[in-house]
Subunit: 236 residues, 2 copies
């Protein structure tokens, strides 16, 4: 966009070139969506009015209507933008190839990155529930597509031997669930950056929290077939 | 005396004893709350009216008011009941003692059990957000108390050596987050029972999904000193 704006060697007109105007409109439209997402996330969808959004942007409600049609449409676009970001990110990871485990980690990173942004938080905190059909179904299908990608990556990881045999559906629910929850508790002014949260989340979810050496010790000590859950001697 | 004996030989009153009436009222009140929770979970809080609740119970709205004051009060009670269930369950586990890892598993089981029930689902799907202060803060404090218990158990698990050194706050967020998410996707008519989901969740979250032998193999290949992670024979 910037390039094409430069290319039009502008005559001295009091109007900006059409491309610039379109660009400015897009910038303003995004500001409306972003501010709306922030308010939805802070107060909830139903508790946020178009007046609230206009007020925070220092514009009148009629001005808002130049950029968006309704609150429903705003929510739709916020959620769709975030889901598209996830989807495109995951597609890019898939297309780049590599081992399933590395792809899974990259996708977990993308997922965390999105749910810690305004639009992504909107997916988690508000979601498609308040929207009428067929919008609700449209967004659910986008979500289901992302879920399928996680399941496929986990199944591929099991097939390549990097992941333990498990039910990919359940594992995807647990992994994406834990990362989705980040969108509930994340605060922009918190201690950790989204990248640090992603790193710790990947570590915790892939490696688990169990201390392995105990399991190994227990296995060595016990003559029974090895179990995965180590037991500690009661301290009581 | 004969007179008093006759008197106790109950005359046929058309009214139930007060205790029975109180009990029946409680049963009906619970039915109102349960039905409301189901509707909130299906349609969302704002999209559910007291008329909807009355309709599903085949009663009039004035009848509802005999049992509850308002929609806000219903949500408060649904969420509070579920959080109390979690809290009491966790307290009982803590009181019974035993190793931190076993207590953690028991608490994960309780948590999953609650979020797969109508009231617990309400905590996850609706939460305290729609409620005014000070109710919102009251419920947030209950939630924070449960979160603290998970953090403490994880810290205890690290201290007793059953869990890997980790940030208990982040680990609690990931574990409780993954299990909270169950309340989003769980369906009563789904393939798995809440108990099976808890079993798989505990397995996946505590052990992680990573196949250990790969890590071990990689480390061995990198000629680093042997690690504590147990190795399995490769199948690849």
């Amino acid at each position: 966009m910037a390039t094409s704006a430069l290319r039009t060697a502008a005559p001295a007109s009091p109007w900006e070139p059409a491309s610039t105007r379109a660009q400015q409109r897009e910038v303003k439209r995004n500001a409306v969506l972003q501010t709306a997402a922030q308010l939805f996330n802070e107060r909830g969808f139903h508790a946020t009015s178009l007046d609230d959004i206009a007020e925070r942007l220092n514009v009148s409600k009629p001005t808002l209507y130049y950029y968006v049609e309704s609150k429903d449409q705003i929510l739709l676009e916020c959620v769709r933008t975030a889901l598209d970001l996830m989807h495109d990110g995951i597609e890019a990871v898939r297309a780049a190839g590599g081992s399933a485990i590395e792809q899974l980690k990259a996708c977990m990173r993308i997922y965390t990155g999105v749910v810690t942004q305004d639009f992504g938080m909107c997916v988690i905190r508000i979601g498609e529930d308040p929207l009428p059909e067929p919008l609700k179904t449209e967004l659910r299908q986008l979500k289901a597509g992302i879920d399928r990608q996680f399941r496929r990556l986990i199944a591929d990881g099991v097939a390549e031997g990097s992941l333990v045999p498990c039910d990919p559906k359940m594992a995807a629910f647990m992994i994406a669930g834990a990362l989705s929850w980040v969108g509930r508790w994340y605060r922009g002014d918190g201690e950790l950056t989204p990248e640090e949260i992603a790193d710790q989340g990947i570590e915790l979810l892939l490696n688990g929290v169990l201390q392995r050496r105990m399991a190994a010790r227990k296995k060595a000590a016990a003559s029974t077939p090895p179990t995965k859950t180590p037991r500690k001697k009661g301290k009581a």
